[in-house]
């Protein structure tokens, strides 16, 4: 039972990261292979504030979000004006740089050997509560003028600019939000596991998040959520094949993009309204099977 609870908490942690990456990659069209770094920053920020300075868990969570968002400005500011490749390279470099800093952080971060003694606060109900809150806020953002600007940029950056959208600022905002989500995920992770090591947040973790979002469908939050639940539990079930886990993630990225770029759900969203309509469809005509209204109005 404790084991299943643990898996579910990890799913919640990953979900926060995945919601963030989904906003950035699926909705804004920017690709980051450095999101594990924002998780790491969130985890360490929270661990230091709560574990060393004795602040409450809520402060740790909020500070984790704020610090991760702030750090995202370092790579966001110089790159949001340029084509996406520069951002992707900078994000990759940022991931490595963060790991190096944590590795050499001395007594503050515990270095490569790790940070021990983080108080345990993340219980399953708390984790689920945070994720639900996070998902609702994310949905609200996507269904607003901010979300529409992000999607416009993904579709055609130049046309978006010509429609009065400050694309650099919007891209920065999307990055900051997505980093904040990853930061909260990191904080939850720290207070579940109670000890941290820089290697937990390496490029493989970033790959996991990105592959989940691509697999779930770029532009679908619910797709990302379902993919996250599936992809986080599968490796737990198939522990003996641990070695092949990352092979699978890499392959999932390539084959999805090459064979089915819309992923599991495409830009389709599963909504309460849509589900209700789908379930009652036999009584009407099953025209728009699962015509789930998209998250965008």
């Amino acid at each position: 039972m404790a084991y299943i609870q643990g898996v579910m908490i990890i799913i919640c942690v990953n979900l926060m990261g995945v919601l963030g990456v989904s906003l950035l990659t699926g909705f804004t069209g920017m690709f980051s292979f450095g999101h594990a770094a924002y998780m790491a920053l969130g985890a360490y920020t929270s661990a230091i504030l709560v574990g060393r300075l004795g602040m409450p868990f809520v402060v740790g969570l909020l500070a984790a979000a704020a610090f991760a968002a702030l750090a995202s400005v370092i790579i966001g500011y110089p790159t949001v004006r340029l084509v996406g490749d520069y951002f992707a390279i900078a994000a990759l470099g940022f991931g490595e740089a963060t790991r190096l800093i944590l590795d050499n952080g001395g007594s503050l971060t515990g270095g490569a050997r790790g940070f021990v003694g983080v108080p345990k606060h993340t219980t399953l109900p708390i984790a689920i509560l945070i994720v639900i809150l996070g998902a609702i806020l994310m949905r609200n953002i996507i269904n607003s003028r901010f979300g529409r600007s992000f999607v416009a940029i993904r579709e055609d950056k130049l046309a978006a600019e010509a429609m009065g959208i400050n694309t650099a600022r919007s891209r920065m905002l999307s990055l900051a939000i997505s980093a904040a989500y990853a930061g909260v995920g990191g904080s939850m992770f720290a207070h579940y596991l109670t000890f941290l090591q820089p290697v937990m947040f390496d490029i493989n973790k970033s790959t996991e998040l990105a592959a989940t979002v691509v697999f779930g469908g770029l532009g679908s939050m619910t797709g990302s959520i379902i993919a996250c639940i599936i992809l986080t539990s599968i490796p737990e079930i198939f522990r003996p094949f641990y070695l092949w886990r990352m092979v699978f993630y890499g392959l999932a990225l390539v084959t999805t993009i090459v064979l089915r770029p819309q992923g599991l759900l495409g830009s389709f969203e599963i909504t309460l309204e849509g589900t209700r309509r789908f379930l009652t469809a036999p009584f009407r005509r099953r025209v728009s099977a699962g015509g789930g209204a998209r998250w965008q109005s």
Binding site: F31, I75, F94, T207, V247, G250, L253, I257
Partner: protein, 294 residues
């Protein structure tokens, strides 16, 4: 004494920089044609490094033909990658984002397939050239480094000749301005992109063999390409002379920082350099940053 130390670091920097140049040039070449950052470039390098290692150790083939065989393997790996993964994306006219994602997927797939099959072990190339240094008065270099630098420049000169003097090379130049237009003018786009990947793969494979000989061969060797990416941006993304200049400069700066400050700061410096370049002059030393055409 100081002079000799400075000169020594200069030579060390140029030596590693020339290997970065092999990577950066191929990477830049692909960028100039397909306009995306090929994160799978490190995989070509790793394939070359492992191929070289196994050919040299397992088969009794002399060193030079073994290296040629290894880099050809890397070239073929690159062509296959293009054929299997990038061409379908290219033909659907998908956004750049898809190329970036696919290339990163390939990099991860390749690294971990090696971990899962060949194993995560570090492997040492057999000594082909004596480790003894070549003494040049104030500075000394290992024979291997001398040969690596020499071969790197040889290949880059051949590439320069190919691009500026041959018909296929001119087609590549034309395609770097506008791939679609080149296609309309009768250039066989698929063959051209294939050639570019073959060249890029061969150069990456060669750098892989040298890096394997200089350090060791291991699955994560491909991450060194991040430095070559930074070098390419530093020199001007998409510009071949820029990629070479950026690589040599980066190599020298790294050598000095490692020698006179701290070797831990070295990689952090590379990242800071990237951010600084993007802030001050995103077009790099020789390129100019072009917004997409309207």
């Amino acid at each position: 004494m100081i002079l000799s130390r400075v000169l020594q670091q200069l030579v060390n920097g140029l030596s590693i920089g020339s290997i970065y140049a092999l990577i950066a040039v191929g990477y830049s070449l692909i960028y100039s044609i397909l306009r995306f950052s090929n994160f799978a470039h490190g995989s070509f390098l790793v394939v070359g490094a492992y191929a070289g290692f196994f050919i040299v150790t397992a088969m009794s083939i002399p060193f030079i033909p073994a290296v040629l065989l290894a880099i050809l393997t890397a070239g073929l790996a690159a062509v296959t990658t293009e054929r299997v993964a990038y061409r379908p994306i290219r033909e659907r006219n998908s956004p750049t984002l898809y190329f970036i994602i696919a290339s990163m997927g390939i990099a991860i797939f390749c690294e971990h397939t090696i971990v899962a099959t060949i194993g995560p072990k570090f492997r040492t190339y057999p000594r082909v050239l004596a480790a003894t240094g070549v003494d040049l008065g104030l500075v000394s270099m290992s024979k291997m480094d001398v040969m690596a630098a020499f071969m790197a420049f040889l290949f880059l000169i051949v590439l320069q000749y190919f691009i500026t003097r041959t018909k296929q090379g001119c087609a590549i130049q034309a395609a770097s301005y506008d791939l679609q237009a080149a296609g309309l003018m009768g250039v066989n786009v698929n063959r051209l992109v294939g050639t570019v990947f073959l060249i890029a793969g061969i150069l990456a494979g060669l750098s892989g063999v040298f890096l394997g000989m200089k350090y060791t061969v291991y699955p994560q060797l491909g991450y060194l390409t991040i430095k070559a990416f930074v070098a390419a941006i530093f020199g001007g993304l998409g510009s071949l002379p820029g990629a070479i200049a950026g690589s040599l400069l980066l190599g020298v700066m790294e050598a000095f920082i490692a020698a006179f400050l701290s070797s831990q700061l070295r990689d952090l410096f590379v990242f800071s350099l990237l951010i600084a370049v993007l802030l001050v002059k995103p077009g790099g030393l020789m390129g100019k940053y072009v917004e997409e055409k309207v």
